[in-house]
Assembly symmetry: C2
Homo-oligomer: 249 residues x 2
DNA sequence: CGACAATTTGACTCAAGTCAACTAGGGTGG
DNA sequence: CCACCCTAGTTGACTTGAGTCAAATTGTCG
């Protein structure tokens, strides 16, 4: 269906419906919206232009006025400690929503940056908020999204506070794997979207430790890794190593 | 351990207004609700009977059907790792809302238990959700609460992933202090509501480390501590030690 | 083809954990 | 009211997993 309003905010090629044809619509916001209401959602979503590795979606301190959905590629959220170090808060893969943390204070507490070529949809909050009052299922979905993020963050707190380096790495690999599988991709063989440094930063480890653990896991035959290409040979062993099984977000 | 569940429904003859006269109404949910609408909110809130130390508000796995507000005392949220260990997720003090994490999955991912004699209000979610569509400011407030929790959890992730034992303890003490101050109480002299063990569990440290750090801080003249009674002698030094200043929730 | 960035590997260090012994409170029953 | 017991807290001695520093190797991209 041709969208008659080529709104100014719809940057780019937005003649065809956005969500309806998106391969992620069964993961993303649209799952909460009945088909006949999808148009309302489409209208407020901006497809952004593609981002390149290192491009910011927003920076820490920017005014909060939208949340974002990943269409392709991977995005990381990070904040900066008072000591000036980066702390990675999360990795966001296609179909996932990010940027929710800024709602309460009106400004984003963390920045978001593309790890590789990526595309994200921008969902202006002051448009989706009133819409969510019209569409109860959308409101519920927004609550669910935020609650899910709380749950995931708490899983990560547990990881950071109790797990060993090996358990942390195993958990991260399993998380990535299951998130790929959910999109119908292989969870056994994939390319890491982030550097060793980013993995370590996220998991509370230094690069050297990440490297050593990966090498050890390879020597044990649990996985094969060269550069960023991973193959999980023994998923069960990896799951055992991870301790608590990390449910995919 | 006896689980004295919260009262089922409005156990009380709820003729007297609950929120309106509550000393915390400028911290809690009511801040989002105009005076003329307060009645609507009052109607759906259950005051529970008092909890004793060790009583559960809910357990991990319980169906999610409400969120809770602390009226008095302190409550901790915790989950159990696959290894069977407890992991404390947060401490909740008067005026604070907890139990939001269970919304997405329909069951509480963590349990909540009173650390001392406490009273909590129960806010049934399937009643406040529709109400929040009538009262935009209430909806916004709920979004804010969840967003705030996300932000706080991310602060804690940062703490767990980057801070030293001393920085962690200093951060916790400052957090408790500022939350007391917000209620008009002394932030300089107070009683810790939790054991050394709970502090350590929350901060990713063992009891011995907590004890040693507290002793060291006392020897340095930063604070005075005996048992659970704390006096912060040099707030600025403590803040410097904490690194990133922990904003009160 | 360089030059720089990312990764790996080794040797050494140290902050925090473990194990163990001892002390201080706090609550209860006789 | 006191004696006793049990749990919480402290302190010391020793261990260790992960960090630091350094140097070699590989990968990437202009």
């Amino acid at each position: 269906m041709e969208s008659s309003r080529l709104a100014t905010k719809n940057v780019g090629h937005s003649f065809q419906p956005q969500c309806e044809s998106c391969s992620l619509n069964n993961l993303c916001l649209p799952i909460a919206v009945a088909n006949e209401d999808l148009g309302l959602l489409e209208e407020i979503i901006d497809r952004g232009r593609p981002l390149h590795r290192g491009d910011h979606v927003f920076r820490a301190g920017d005014a909060f006025d939208a949340v974002y959905a990943v269409r392709s590629g991977t995005v990381k959220s990070y904040s900066i400690t008072t000591a000036g170090e980066e702390q990675i808060i999360g990795f966001h893969m296609p179909g996932e929503i990010f940027g929710l943390g800024g709602l309460s204070s009106g400004q984003h507490p963390s920045g978001a940056i593309a790890l590789e070529t990526a595309a994200v949809c921008r969902i202006p909050f002051d448009e989706i908020e009133p819409l969510s009052r019209q569409l109860p299922s959308l409101q519920r979905h927004l609550f669910h999204l935020m609650s899910r993020e709380i749950q995931e963050d708490q899983q990560l707190m547990l990881l950071l506070s109790k797990k060993t380096a090996e358990e942390r790495i195993a958990s991260l690999l399993l998380s990535l794997s299951s998130r790929l599988r959910r999109r119908g991709l292989s969870g056994a063989r994939f390319r890491l979207p982030m550097s060793r440094g980013d993995m370590g930063n996220y998991l509370g480890l230094v690069v050297e430790t990440v490297s050593r653990v990966l090498t050890r896991l390879q020597n044990n035959g649990v996985l094969k890794i060269q550069g960023r290409e991973v193959e999980i040979l023994e998923p069960q062993t990896l799951a055992d190593l991870a301790g608590t099984h990390w449910q995919a977000p």
